[in-house]
């Protein structure tokens, strides 16, 4: 009887396995057609000389690594640096605030009122077109705009301030805009993750006298790690592609000395006037390698935390056992 059942279940397992392949078909077919092939095409172009002078097309002519040499002789490292800096300036406040908010919104002890209002409002900036955002902030920070007026009135500065001439001024404002647009997004995602954590764990921790900080670092964070990794990686990918906001705010110039010009702005410029697919392809490859490297770093970093979580799981189990024993001896 058992043998027959094993054979049957094995058959069933195999027949179900084929469903795995079937259901994956739409995804991979479309992916290959619309992303993999174009991607390979882009990479292919990076080895060709292919641009337009006026209405005349030059190429595609094979030039090997010439495009790469050209862009590295140009300013690609500078733009990559700018992109990284802008990303870091944005991601740190964004992650901190989102985590805080996610924890606060889900902490019953805090008895927060009106959370529905706050939860709705924080996502709203994401609805605004990046172009609109950029234009609005350009107005806010213009030389005759309200921010400069306020700063002058309060005595912080004595003469008109042109934000486009300030390297860090522009960078912080771009980071701020990006933050406003995306922190609602990350908060919602993290909240979903936090809600997935069993509340009894928190109760046990409270009874054990664990304060807010301890609870957060030793229980919430480890359990939240999968979603947190997801959020960091997606923000990373988005951040490396930073374009709209910076482009509009600096009117395409990247501010003083090109200090806020990102890789995407560079790519866009290459495709814009001269339709330089060759160099654009090379820049795309660099962009890809940058993203991949950063992602691996994040993965590697969080794998270590993965080990920590096993330790935390052990502690949690002890807490659960304690609770169970207490319940058993309640009067």
């Amino acid at each position: 009887m058992n043998k027959r059942m094993t054979i049957n279940t094995r058959k069933k397992k195999m027949s179900y396995a084929k469903w795995g392949y079937i259901l994956l078909v739409p995804f991979f077919v479309i992916f290959i057609l619309f992303q993999l092939i174009p991607l390979l095409q882009t990479f292919k172009y990076s080895f060709y000389e292919y641009y337009s002078i006026g209405l005349q097309e030059i190429g595609p002519n094979w030039v090997g690594f010439a495009n790469y040499v050209k862009i590295f002789q140009g300013s690609i490292l500078k733009y990559a640096g700018n992109t990284l800096i802008l990303w870091i300036l944005c991601i740190i406040p964004q992650m901190t605030v989102s985590l805080l908010l996610a924890v606060w919104f889900t902490d019953i002890r805090l008895h927060l009122k009106g959370t529905w209002f706050f939860k709705t409002v924080i996502y709203m900036p994401n609805l605004v077109m990046a172009a609109a955002f950029g234009m609005l902030f350009q107005m806010l920070f213009a030389a005759n705009g309200p921010v400069v007026d306020m700063l002058m009135d309060s005595g912080w500065i004595t003469e008109t301030f042109h934000i486009g001439q300030s390297v860090w001024g522009t960078r912080w404002v771009i980071a701020l805009m990006n933050f406003l647009m995306w922190f609602g997004n990350t908060t919602i995602l993290l909240m979903a993750g936090v809600m997935g954590i069993d509340t009894t764990v928190y109760e046990a921790a409270t009874i054990d006298g664990s304060g807010a900080f301890k609870t957060f670092f030793h229980i919430t964070m480890p359990l939240l790690m999968p979603i947190f990794i997801y959020v960091v990686i997606t923000s990373l990918i988005g951040g490396v592609q930073l374009f709209d906001v910076a482009q509009i705010f600096t009117s395409g110039s990247g501010a003083v000395d090109g200090s806020s010009k990102t890789l995407m702005m560079y790519l866009y410029k290459l495709i814009g006037t001269s339709r330089n697919y060759g160099e654009a392809g090379a820049v795309s490859v660099v962009l890809f390698l940058l993203t991949a490297t950063l992602s691996f770093i994040v993965f590697a970093f969080t794998q270590k935390s993965g080990k920590l979580s096993k330790k935390e799981k052990k502690i949690m189990k002890e807490i659960e056992l304690k609770e169970a024993s207490k319940n058993g001896t309640s009067c």
Partner: protein, 463 residues
């Protein structure tokens, strides 16, 4: 599920896929200029704004009406389809280029028939095969073109000497100044007397110092004076070896503007930013602005009012307090040229439109009287210039056409290149940082060349 998806995809294809070819098969020639024989039924015009559209609808005699889709109907039943793509991020040219290259194989009704270009990139199209010779291909005669200003023809003349486009506008540039400030600092606001003081760059700089002494700015920003310098270079910006040649005049602009900034003669703004616009209004302390025809009546007038909703008349802000004068150098700024597209199936209609809108004295005169735009017809402009009763209220009664008419004839645009657009923008952007004191001159040049390499990969720095 997948079948549904397939159906959906097919549906999408049908509705939003490439438009099907249903054009009439009229002969697509570029040389058939007999009276509308075998012409297409649809005239496709490409442009980046609705300026010419407005002119066309008001002044082309065969125009009948516009339907709800924005297409125009002409007397002989031809439909005029306007495709307006903004200039932002070069989108207009990119779309135009793709269509022009495919024009020979496109369906007759989708063929691009006419398109507009700006001076800064006119040469790109003019020197290519994609624009039609207005005389040889379209049939305009020397007589037709005789009343046009020479420089408007120079800009669209290709390397073989053929004129490949035509325009209804001449946009001579002037210096618009504030009468009240002129009275206070110079003792007079009469345009001729003010011009006497501003007729050379030395004179201009001297007045700038005087303005500063009384607490006014001579110019608003860095880029205001660019065109007067850049239009008067002695050789094209790019030579036959694809090398960028920076003329001495450009260096002069850089040095003068840096001096102005350091001495406080300008208000450190950039063209079109909010402070620059505000400087033209009642709270501004700037003596004058370099402007062209369209700027006077579109931008300066609007910015000068104290109350945008109230009537545009004396008393409302600076209305009536501006006047114009030639300034230290003759230059032009702006303007749109009409080009016939190679492969058009409506060449006779294209010729007629060009003839009416750009060669006719009557149309030009009406245009100017109605819109205050300066049109490309020497005879018409001279008539208005010599009319003692003509004057602009906004300019305190000055006959600015007379002023423009004098300077228009002196403009020399034989030194344009097809890379002007990118280079002009590149220089202004790169040196903004230098003027503000954020980078050195060498760094600014470095940034300029880096930037140019991104826009025009084939150009090199001069050895």
């Amino acid at each position: 599920m997948q079948k549904k998806l397939l159906r959906l995809a097919v549906g999408v294809c049908t509705i939003f896929g490439l438009s099907s070819c249903n054009g009439t098969t009229s002969s697509a020639t570029g040389t058939d200029v007999t009276e509308g024989a075998g012409e297409g039924k649809v005239l496709n015009i490409r442009c980046w704004n609705d300026e010419f559209q407005g002119r066309f609808r008001s002044y082309y005699p065969d125009y009948m009406s516009t339907d709800s889709d924005g297409n125009d109907l002409l007397r002989d039943g031809t439909k005029v389809v306007w495709t307006i793509t903004a200039n932002k991020d070069n989108a207009y040219q990119n779309a135009l280029d793709v269509s022009l290259k495919a024009n020979d194989t496109a369906a007759d009704d989708s063929k691009v028939d006419m398109y507009l270009v700006e001076a800064d990139y006119a040469l790109k199209y003019v020197d290519s095969d994609y624009s039609l010779d207005v005389k040889a291909d379209l049939g305009l005669t020397d007589n037709d073109l005789s009343q046009q200003y020479q420089y408007t023809k120079d800009i669209v003349t290709d390397s073989t000497g053929a004129q490949k486009g035509t325009t209804w506008q001449a946009c001579p540039g002037l210096y618009a100044y504030r009468r009240d400030i002129a009275k206070e600092v110079l003792g007079t606001d009469d345009p001729a007397e003010v011009q006497a003081k501003l007729s050379t760059w030395d004179g201009f700089n001297a007045v700038a110092a005087a303005m500063k002494a009384k607490g006014y700015f001579m110019l608003s920003g860095y880029d205001d004076a660019y065109r007067p310098y850049s239009n008067n270079i002695s050789a094209p910006l790019v030579n036959e070896n694809d090398e960028i040649v920076i003329d001495q005049n450009i260096e002069n602009w850089i040095d003068t503007t840096k001096e102005y900034t350091d001495k406080g003669y300008n208000n450190k703004t950039s063209l079109w930013d909010s402070q620059w616009s505000a400087d033209q209004g009642p709270n501004g302390k700037v003596f004058g602005f370099f402007y062209s025809t369209w700027g006077i009546n579109f931008t300066l007038e609007g910015n000068s009012l104290a109350d945008a909703n109230a009537e545009k008349a004396l008393g409302n802000g600076l209305y009536g307090e501006y006047a114009v004068t030639e300034g230290p150098a003759s230059y032009y700024w702006g303007g749109s040229w009409l080009c016939g597209a190679k492969g058009t199936d409506n060449s006779y209609l294209v010729k007629r439109i060009m003839q009416t809108m750009t060669c006719s004295r009557t149309v030009s005169k009406h245009l100017t009287l109605d819109t205050l735009d300066y049109t490309n017809n020497k005879v018409a402009m001279t008539e208005i210039a010599e009319d003692p009763t003509y004057g602009s209220d906004f300019l305190g009664g000055q006959n600015h056409i007379a002023m423009f008419a004098e300077s228009a004839d002196k403009i020399d645009m034989s030194n344009i290149s097809s890379y002007d657009q990118g280079i002009n923008e590149g220089i202004q952007t790169a040196f903004q940082d230098y003027f503000a004191g954020s980078v050195t001159k060498e760094k600014a040049w470095e940034n300029f060349y880096t930037n140019i390499a991104e826009v025009y990969p084939n150009l090199k720095k001069a050895a």
